[in-house]
Symmetry: C2
Subunit: 234 residues, 2 copies
């Protein structure tokens, strides 16, 4: 069973055996990070972080104290592949659930890209995919809260399926309602009510830590979700 990074980057195009092996080596020496901890040392732009398990996010605390999450890092996701053009961006990266994270010297990744065309292509694919997703989130922000949350669930299901961490219609999802709120930009109280309404209309079934989507196509239609922006294979 391949590591999450290889599984993830396979969506960027073909990777040779050598390239897969090189990527696999990056995933050794992982460390555990508890939930609700920052992954990256502030201002350390020399290291790229790779999530191997768990869910992390990129976020910022606004002046009024609210936290805004602008993207999720799922297993196989690299963080800040290409250093911000001018200095460190003022984004933090932190865990939402307990995570396993590998730290990769940026220079080592750059070397790999230089010598392996498939890896080079994959890294550029990552940036384009992040851009595409950010725009989709922007569009999502102008939908009502229930569709926004539904859209988020659709994305998480598909992305986790892409790295074999979700079934056809259910995921083991341990995000708190506070996390969902900071992602969707609404209050956690309202998230609670939105979830109840989604459950009531049969769009989702949520067990303890399990999100089940009885009719995926129906939820996607409700959320106006089209997985194209994730640039996954197939």
């Amino acid at each position: 069973m391949p590591d999450p990074l290889t599984r993830r980057l396979a969506h960027a195009g073909h990777l040779s055996e050598t390239e897969q092996e090189a990527l696999r080596e990056l995933t050794l020496n992982a460390r555990s990070v508890a939930a609700r901890r920052d992954i990256a040392a502030p201002l350390s732009t020399e290291t790229v972080h790779l999530v191997l398990s768990g869910i992390a996010c990129r976020y910022k605390i606004l002046l009024d104290g609210t936290r805004r999450i602008v993207s999720y890092l799922l297993p196989g996701d690299l963080c800040d592949v290409h250093a911000g053009a001018s200095g460190a961006a003022d984004w933090s990266v932190g865990t939402l659930t307990p995570c396993s994270v590998a730290d990769i010297p940026r220079e080592r990744l750059a070397d790999l890209a230089r010598t392996h065309p498939g890896i080079d292509r994959a890294l550029r694919w990552i940036t384009l995919t992040e851009l595409s997703a950010a725009r989709e989130w922007l569009a999502n922000d102008s939908r009502p809260a229930d569709r926004r949350i539904a859209h988020l669930f659709c994305e998480l299901l598909v992305r986790l399926q892409a790295v074999d961490l979700a079934g056809a219609s259910s995921v083991d999802l341990r995000l708190s309602q506070v996390d969902l709120a900071d992602t969707a930009g609404i209050s956690f109280v309202h998230v609670n009510r939105v979830l109840q309404s989604l459950r009531a209309s049969g769009l989702i079934v949520s067990g303890k830590h399990m999100l089940t989507i009885p009719d995926v196509a129906r939820l996607q239609a409700f959320a106006e979700f089209d997985s194209g922006y994730l640039h996954l294979a197939q």
Copy 2:
């Protein structure tokens, strides 16, 4: 006086005389596009568009009919430099004001990047800057409407200054309130009231087509704006 593209890409790093000349050649053969017209032919991924004058935007019409603008294209901005990894994204690009636009075969741009390292670097800088801006817009979306509009004005001022199209504290800005509304994700009626309140508190002074900002630092503080995410020189 250099063309907008050269002025813009100068922020990405040094460009040799040869590179500047090569960029200048791209700006010949511009066409005029009236306001409220799409620039790109749907699904034509073979052409990169370059805005030479006027303001255009990337947008999408959501299912409920609302238009969501996710980025602005100002003079010197290229559109879709790197083709979406998998097929055409479902974004439209259209003018907000009358524009002058040059169409550049993607292959020609790729050739330039191959032969001119400075241009290659500049093109990668563009993508990173777009990503950075998209994330900033996401964060901006969780601020109240008045700060959101203020943030937008701050960005436009700085970006237009970067291509010598704005003074120290005023811009010739011909965006309609409807355009602002679709950018900020609020109704145009509310935009109207927000503008009145910004005027009342002295944060902006708007003449007919002129936006003046009496105290730029004050507006930036109000909007929690830090130009770092635009990756401009200096």
